[in-house]
């Protein structure tokens, strides 16, 4: 089938502002939007810049705004996107972050917020001879937030983040949640202190855009509320 793509283009060396590039490509209905973008880059205009690595919904590199929704280009089928856009697929870079070129955004503000929550295991006990054991229930406590692939679809769909990039954002809170509620971790106090700051969890307005955007189906708002409760009560159970 013929697929019409409308892609937001911007070349910092040539353009003063972004413009729309229109392309017509041949694709199967069950191809992904990423395949259509590949077609444009490989056969029509090699200057199109986009990020992608695994192309199978695992690495989180190709998050972009397709028909106004933050999604992974490798997880949206052409027929699905064509239906939504009445025959035209609109592709834009993730909103809320500076555009480097075309669909490539500067992820540094996003990763700066990620680093703030100390996203690694903190445990000052002497290392045990074998694994640090955990019951299935203890593992289950933070299972949902282990699914995050740091694609930034959630954080860049958040109006609080659009208004102020200082806001730590849903992805960083999800990552913090993953360690705060891990029975093997001892860094919860420090992480909760970071998240209790001015631009921490309290900037969440429970808009649920992040939950709609997450390609992994993480119940992000629930995780944020659990972190808020942990801050308020000082308890992790």
């Amino acid at each position: 089938m013929k697929v019409r793509l409308r892609i937001q283009r911007f070349n910092p060396e040539k353009d003063r502002k972004p413009w729309w590039g229109e392309y017509e490509v041949e694709a199967e209905p069950v191809d992904r939007v990423l395949d259509a973008l590949h077609y444009v880059k490989w056969y029509i205009d090699g200057t199109l810049a986009l990020r992608r690595s695994c192309a199978h919904g695992i690495c989180g590199s190709d998050a972009m705004r397709i028909n106004g929704r933050n999604r992974l280009a490798c997880k949206v089928l052409v027929r699905e996107a064509m239906g939504e856009g009445r025959g035209v697929i609109t592709v834009q870079p993730l909103p809320g972050l500076p555009v480097i070129k075309d669909l490539v955004v500067d992820m540094e503000p996003f990763f700066a917020n990620y680093r703030k929550v100390l996203p690694y295991l903190i445990n000052n006990d002497p290392p045990p001879e074998r694994e640090r054991l955990q019951t299935p229930e203890e593992r289950d406590r933070y299972d949902d937030t282990t699914k995050c692939i740091l694609c930034a679809a959630c954080t860049t769909s958040c109006p609080s983040f659009w208004a102020n990039r200082e806001y730590i954002g849903p992805a960083a809170i999800v990552q913090a949640h993953r360690f705060i509620f891990d029975s093997r971790d001892q860094g919860a106090t420090e992480r909760l202190r970071v998240l209790n700051e001015w631009f921490g969890v309290w900037r969440c307005r429970t808009i649920f855009n992040c939950v709609e955007a997450c390609p992994r189906g993480i119940q992000i708002t629930r995780a944020i509320e659990e972190v808020k409760l942990a801050i308020l009560t000082g308890r992790l159970s």
């Binding site: 929704r69 500067d106 109006p159 659009w162 808009i207």
Partner: protein, 129 residues
């Protein structure tokens, strides 16, 4: 690097593509909030008539009983009710209560808002008519 303007970035909240109940609730909350602030100032401005004596006030009250004004009262009640009831929803969600049911809570808020507005509008027209 190209940075979208602050206005353009923040303006994304009126873009409802791909957004569902939560996004709609937030947008309506903002709009009714802005509306109520504007109303507050109009209200205070009108109240100054009290300082100008009974004639000025009575003349205003006579105008306030016109059908157009009463219809605007209905709109005001709609805005107040939505803002108040959704405020309760947001408070509950903020306390971690009912997060998985947020969409159903939103439709509950909408139903209550419309029902109570209908009752209020009926009462207004029944009393003044």
């Amino acid at each position: 690097m190209k940075e979208a303007s602050r206005w353009k970035r923040a303006g994304g909240w009126v873009d409802l593509r791909g957004r569902r109940e939560g996004g709609l609730a937030f947008l309506l909350m903002r709009l009714t909030g802005i509306g109520l602030v504007i109303y507050l100032f109009i209200h205070l401005y009108v109240l100054r008539l009290l300082a100008q004596g009974p004639e000025a006030w009575d003349a205003f009250i006579a105008m306030a009983k016109s059908p157009l004004f009463l219809a605007l009262d209905g709109l005001l009640i709609l805005g107040i009710l939505y803002h108040a009831l959704n405020g309760v929803r947001v408070t509950l969600l903020g306390l971690g209560i009912g997060v998985p049911h947020q969409a159903r809570l939103f439709w509950g808020v909408m139903t209550l808002t419309l029902l109570m507005t209908a009752v209020a509008v009926y009462a207004i027209f029944a009393i003044t008519g």
